[in-house]
Each structure stands twice: as C-alpha cells, then as structure tokens.
Amino acid sequence: MTIPIDWTVAGPATIVLVGALVALMVDAFYPRRTWLGSGLPATVAGVVATAELVRGDATGTPFAFSLVVLVGTLFVVVASNVMNFENAMPPGEYHFLLMSAAAGALLMVGARDVVTLVVALELLSLPSIALVGLRQGDRDAIRAAWTFFLVSVVSTAVTLMGVSLLYGVTGTLDYALLGRALVDPAVPDGVVSVAVVMTVVGLLFKLGAVPFHLWVPDAYGGASVMVAGFLSAVSKAASLGALLVLLSVALPAAQDDWQPVVAVVAALTMTVGNVGALRQDDAIGLLAWSSVAQAGFLVAPAAVVSSSYALPAAAQYVAVYALANLVAFAALAVVLRLRGSTRLDDLRGMARNDPWMGVPLVMAALTLAGFPPAVIGLVTKFVVIRPVVDGDHVWLAIIMGVNVMLGLAYYLRLVVTLCERPVGEPYVSPSPPISVRFAKSTVLIGAAALVVLSAWPDLLLSHLP
C-alpha cells in the first residue's frame, strides 16, 4: 500500500528542508563564523531543488512561483555572504531558518488544501520572524521582530478563524471540494463572505497589502538587508502564488465576495505604498515602501483571476519584480557593508564612482518603475494591466497607471541621485571582507539578467507559464 504523494510539488520542498537540516548540522559540528560552513550546503540544496523542479513535470502557476521562490532563495543565500557573520549573525541558524522559510514558501505555492496552506504559511512566517530578529545585540532588529511577530500572529489567528468558519459552512478544507461546495445555494452567503475575507487576510498580510502593511517598513528597516530582500521577494512570491491558487481553485464561487475587496485593496495598496515612499530619505526605507506599492500591482491580477491572462501575468510580474528587488537589496547590502549607510545622500554619484554597484541599482530602480531602458519592467507593467482590463476593471487599470507615475517620482529620485556628480570621496571600508565579492557577482548576474530580459523580453514571457 502506498500513500499518493505528488513529488513534483513535494520534492523540491523536501530537498530544501534537507538542505536546511544539513546546514544546521554542519554548523553544529563545524562551527565557523563564516558563510562557507553552512552557506555551502544551503546553496547546494537550492541548486538541487531547482534542478529537481525543472526536471519534474510541474507546469503552470505552481511551477512558475516555485521557480521564483527557489531562484530567489538561491540569490539570497549566495548574496548573504555579505552579512556580518563574524560578529552579528550566527550563520548556521541563519541558513537553517532561511531554508526552512523557503520550504514553507514552496509548500504554500503547492498547497491544495487549506490545512497544508496554514501549516506552510506558518512554516514561512515563523522562521522569517526569527530571521528578522536574529541579528545579535541589535535593538532595532529585535523590535522589528516583535512588531512583525505580533502582527503576524494576529493575522494568522484571523485567517484561522476564517478557515474554521469556511469549514463550518462547507464541511471540507480541500480546495477542489471547497470549490464545489460553495456553489451550493444552501450555503449561507453572509457567513461565506466573512469567512472568505478573513481567510484571505493572512495572505494579504504576508504580501504587505493595505491595511496590513504597517509592519513592512519597520520590519524591512530593522532586519538585515538580505532578509528584507527575502521577505520582499520570496515571501511575497509565495504568498501571491498561494493567494492566486486559493482564489481561483477554492473560492471562484465566492468571487462576488472577494473580487471587490481584493481590487480595492490592490488599489489602496499601490497608492499608499507609492505615496509613503515619496518622503523616504533612506534607500532601504524607499524600497520597503516601494515593495508595498508593488504588492498592489501583484494583487491586482488576483482580483481578476478569472481572466485567462491573470495567472501568467502575476507570475511574470512577480518574477521580474523579485529579480529587480533582490538586485536592489543585494546591492544595498553591499553598500551598507562598505559604506555603512544607505541614505540617499550617501549614495550620491554611485553610478559614477562605483559603477559595478551603482548601475545595477539604476537598472533595478528603472525596472521597478517600469521605465525604459529597463524594457522588461515596462513590458511586465503592460502584462499586469492586461488581465485587469480584460476583467473589466478599467478603473483599477487607471489607478495602476496613475501609480506608475507616482512610483516614477521616487524611483527617478533614486536614479538621479545615483547618477549625479558625487560630492567628495565616498567612505569606503579600509579592508573590505573578501566574501563581498560573491554578493557583488550575484548583483551583477541579476542586473545582467535584467538587461538581457530588457533586450529580449520574450525569454521570460514565453517560458514562464
């Protein structure tokens, strides 16, 4: 007798989890305060899991989001060698938590059952919280972790309440069965709408959508830069994937309940995020708010998930967004390590006096803004607006358009600051740690990928769902 297990979904997650354990073991038996000890197994696990994912016959949305999650995790792991493992960050725990969260992210995307979803959500959340607070002896980090933790558990509780109600009205938590059960006219509408909305809250929280966004600037600001990158890219991609699957498979019958909610939330999120970003003087804070705004763009196709364009659009958008955001965060991590600050004033002229980090930052900012020469950013903006229009939400599309403008206002500020003539010589750490080279090369590879995709967007658009 065998238990039917879909290894195309479970395989990569298992590999990642194994990698997490191995990393912890290595650190336990070979404790060195460098990246190499535990980072290497984590990297290997990431590569193997990616290979396994690509080898498997998974297709469509889960594949796309899993790929984004895995590549993003790999990126974070490799770029993490910029971190101060010598003093502040325990490498073994770091990599273990990172890989655990990644496994949670993978499971979330693959979940076809609300129980799995909830467990995976927690598997993603709890290590993430720990990651945020992991930096030793840092008040900001622990405060950020506390904020993140409390808001997170509250939203989890709300989600669980929603799930329990959903179970109460349908008697099942399997996506497919839920989808069928909700069609039944006997199901009480009011309860369903409350239950659906509460269920979705947890995922919207992870995405950082308004009004569940307040933790984002604090957590990103307090966490290590690469952890913030992980949260903004991997965690969001996974939550979006899970949200899309949940809405399209389990809850299509309740579309009337969640569609306006999700659409309004998307519109609010992008607007609030962009407006909030306008006044930021720190590049990290700017990216934090910008990632709130981007969450709005990510959620928008979820509102019109019935459109045939929606799933590919979300996947393609999140892929480009994740890549650009990771490039930006990694570059900023390097800058923070070398210059000790990510304030915009301290970044002045970086594209001139440090082009290997400055130009990728420019490219990433332009991609996020959706502005040529980062054509890929523009094309994905087009792609993400298309389902919204196709789903007859032209008003939302217009708000998205206006937000493209709002976004440009601060991305342009970043770009201009980077390109300006530098004032004086920048402070550079006298003896840069060797490990930064790995991070630098990841940044360059990421930026090169953005350039290649800009020149030929078809590479991405034709091959991701």
Binding site: P372, V389, A397, I398, A409, V415, V416, L461
Partner: protein, 475 residues
C-alpha cells in the same frame, strides 16, 4: 535600413555617454553630426511612396503579448521622421563648440533616435517603449545642462517628466484596452473603446500639450538648454500630435473626445497668445506660442477630414522647423547676452546684430502664419477643416472653434509684433556682447530658414502625400 536609421544614432549616443571621458566636446558633436546625417539619409532613402508602408521590418518580439518589432514609415509618419532626423542633425551641428559636453551630444542622439523610433513603430507596445525611452535622457538634458538655477531646472525637469509620465501611464492603460479589444498590438488592429480613446487622448494631450494640461511646458522649455528646447518643441510635442493622429483620429470613438479637443485646442490658441503677450522671457514666449500652434493641430485632428489630416501633419512639421529656428535664435541671444529676457537683451537688435535680428523676425512672422512661409498652411488647413466641420464635430462646436482660432491668429500677430518691437526695433542699446551670426549659427539657421521658405512656397511637397487619392487615413 530603418533599423540602421534608429540604431546608428542610438548606439553612437550610448557610446558617447559611456565614453565621455575619451572624446572632446567638439569631436563628439561632429560624431553626432555624422551619425544623425546617416540617419537622415536613411530615413529619406527608405521612402517608397505614399501607398503602403516603406522600409517595413516585421520580426517577432514578445509572442505572449502579441508585440512585434514592426517598423515602417507611412505617409503620415515619414514627414515626422524626416523632420526629427533633420532637427537632430542641426542640434548636433549646434553643439559643435569647445564647451560642449560629449554626454550631452550622446543624450541628444539617444533622444532623437527614440523619437524616430516612435514615428517608425507600427506596433503599439514598441511605440510606447520608444515613447518612454526618451523621457529620462530628456530629464537629464533639462536638469543638468540648463542655464537656469539648479533647483529651478530640477523642478522644471521633474514637472515635465511627471506630467508626461502621468499621460503616458494613462496611454498605456488605453493601449492595453485597445489591444485586448482588438486582439493585437498592431497599430492597424487596435480597437480602442470609448474609454480607451479618452485615456489615449489624455495621454497624448499632456504631451502635445492641450490646454489645460500645458503648465509643464513653459517651465521645461525655458529651463532647458538650447538644444533641449529645440528637441522638446520640435520633436517631443510632435510625439503627442503624432500619437493623436495615429491612435485617435482613425478611431470610431473619435466623437467622444473630438468636441473637447476642438474647443480645448482653439481655447489654447487664444489663451497662449494672450499669455505670450505678457512675457518678457523670450524662451517662455516661444514656449507659450507652441501651445497655440499645437492648438491648431489638435483642432484639425478633431475634425477627421482629409484637410484636417493634412493640416495636422503640416502644422506639426512646420511648427517643428519654425520653433526650432526660434529657439536657435533665442539660444544665439542667450549665448551672447547670457539671458533670454527681452529687457536684458535690449532693443534695436536690427542695428546691433542685423542678420540675427532678421532671422529672428523671419522666424517670428513664419510663426504667426504669414502666407508663403511654412507656418501658414497648417493653420489655414485647420481653419478649412473647421469650416468644413468634418465628419465628427457638430457645426456649432466646429464654428465656435473656428472663431476662437481666428481671434487667436489676430492675437498671435499682436504678440509677435510686440516681440519684434521690443527686440529688433528701437533705439539700439549697444552691449559689449553684440556680434552677428557666427558660421555655425549661419549653417544651422540657414538650413531651417531654407526649409521654412521652401515648405511655405511649395506646400505640395507635403500635401501631395494626402491628396484625395490617399484613402488609408492616417494608418
């Protein structure tokens, strides 16, 4: 060929920006002249006749969204492209000087190439990419090479960019709607709905600009360096009118926006003329006058008629050369006197720098639409189109617009005469910096004067593209 016409200036421009340390400004400008001349020759040579598409290139690009690298020139876009390439050559020529920054030449090339790309695109998404591509370089040109105060220039540049991007964001939404409806991004296959037409119109109206969306323009034009002003006026505004011609004019839903366009265009003529009358800064005056000229173009577009189409294209091209000439003349004065304030330049330029004054006066009267010079035909065809009402407007609207336009022409004369009186005439107040046109200025302005006169005397050069036989309206 058309790919080369785009790629040569683009690549050369990029190289100049990157290699700005390794080349002198003068050499960079000559390289720019060479690159743009190649581009101009290619654009001119690619022409195959007004029926059909010249130099068509059609390659798959982004399959999933149906976007193609589809380039080609039509009877509508060819004049625009030709004018752009020509202006780009002149801008580079203008920069042949010792104090030129190579990066500026590079940006000018990139901007010119992007504008050419817009005119050459037959795919909406590709067009949009080119449309946006020029904006950030333009920001740098305005903000960094401005003669104005740094903060003022930054503000003006940012205003310009945000206005334009707001427009283009709406435009993007409009294109998406049209593409979803039409099932393809080919310009000919777009099926804009009424909503899409409103969005697209708004998008291009900001760029054109149509009153009341014009407030970015005077700041940007007056802050920009000479070549920046020329590019903005001659090329960038044309992106707006071209877009209106290509997207809005052929649409079935033109009627939704046409009355507003007609009235806004004609109100703009009067409004800008009045604003011009109170200006002291020459560049601001020219900037405001552009709004008026674009008003004629917009009015013509809103009628959708053979004459209207011809008026729109002719008006755009004529405005490009005339306003380019005006800005070059203003730039000459700026070079000499360090200001473009008419009070600062002083009176009696006829006596102090006769040829400069004569060029300026010629450009000014061309700008007021004197028959026999290029500015006239666009205006008169607009008037004819408005009188004829066309196929979408109602007679009261069209004739109201016509009346406003006539008032505007009269006011235009008034401010041109005032400017001539304040600058060219009067007791000469001799300044140290007085000197007549240099060789570079003679070449640049001479070329433009020649075009202004030739287009004025032989309008058929352009109008023959749009005879009654030309049925493929605007496509």
């Amino acid at each position: 060929m058309i790919v080369a016409a785009l790629a040569v200036p683009f690549v050369v421009g990029l190289l100049l920006v990157l290699g700005r340390r390794f080349v002198s400004g003068r050499a960079a400008a000559w390289i720019g002249v060479a690159a743009t001349t190649v581009s101009l020759v290619l654009v001119a040579a690619v022409w195959e006749g007004r029926e059909g598409v010249s130099g068509e290139v059609d390659v798959a690009w982004i399959e999933p969204v149906g976007a193609r690298l589809h380039l080609g020139l039509t009877a509508v876009s060819w004049p625009f492209a030709l004018m752009t390439a020509f202006i780009a050559v002149l801008c580079c020529l203008w920069l042949v000087a010792d104090d030129t920054s190579p990066a500026l030449v590079g940006l000018v090339l990139v901007i010119g190439a992007s504008a050419l790309g817009v005119f050459g695109s037959l795919d909406a998404l590709l067009l949009f990419v080119f449309f946006e591509l020029a904006l950030v370089p333009m920001w740098f040109v305005i903000a960094w090479w401005s003669d104005a105060d740094r903060d003022v220039a930054h503000r003006a540049a940012t205003r310009f960019l945000l206005f334009t991007v707001t427009g283009s964001a709406l435009l993007l939404v409009g294109i998406v709607v049209a593409a979803v409806e039409g099932g393809s991004l080919e310009l000919t296959a777009l099926r804009p709905t009424a909503v899409a037409i409103v969005l697209i119109t708004l998008g291009f109206a900001v760029k054109t600009p149509v009153v009341p969306l014009h407030t970015w323009l005077p700041d940007a034009h007056s802050s920009a360096p000479t070549v920046g002003s020329v590019l903005l006026a001659s090329v960038f505004l044309k992106l707006g009118t071209y877009g209106l011609i290509v997207f809005v004019l052929p649409s079935d839903h033109l009627g939704v926006v046409a009355p507003y366009l007609a009235v806004a265009g004609s109100v703009g003529i009067v409004w800008s003329a009045l604003a011009c009358y109170a200006q002291d800064d020459l560049k601001r005056l020219i900037a405001y006058s552009s709004i008026g000229h674009m008003g004629f173009v917009v009015l013509a577009i809103s009628t959708r008629s053979e004459a209207g189409l011809a008026a729109a294209v002719f008006g755009s091209v004529a405005h490009g050369v005339i306003t380019g000439l005006l800005f070059f003349a203003a730039g000459s004065m700026k070079d000499r006197y360090g200001t473009t304030s008419m009070a600062g330049i002083g009176r009696g330029l006829y006596g102090r720098a006769p040829w400069l004054a004569a060029t300026f006066v010629l450009a000014a009267v061309a700008s007021l639409g004197l028959p026999g010079l290029a500015g006239f035909w666009g205006e008169v065809l607009s008037l004819r189109a408005a009188y004829d009402v066309g196929s979408v407007l109602t007679r009261p609207v069209a004739w109201t617009a016509l009346g406003l336009a006539l008032v505007g022409i009269a006011l235009t004369t008034a401010y041109v005469v005032r400017a001539v009186r304040l600058l060219a005439q009067g007791e000469p107040s001799a300044l140290e910096a007085d000197r007549d046109l240099g060789r570079r200025e003679v070449v640049v302005m001479g070329a433009l004067v020649a075009v202004v006169v030739v287009l004025g005397l032989v309008p058929q050069l352009l109008l023959d593209l749009y005879g009654p036989v030309y049925v493929g309206v605007a496509r």
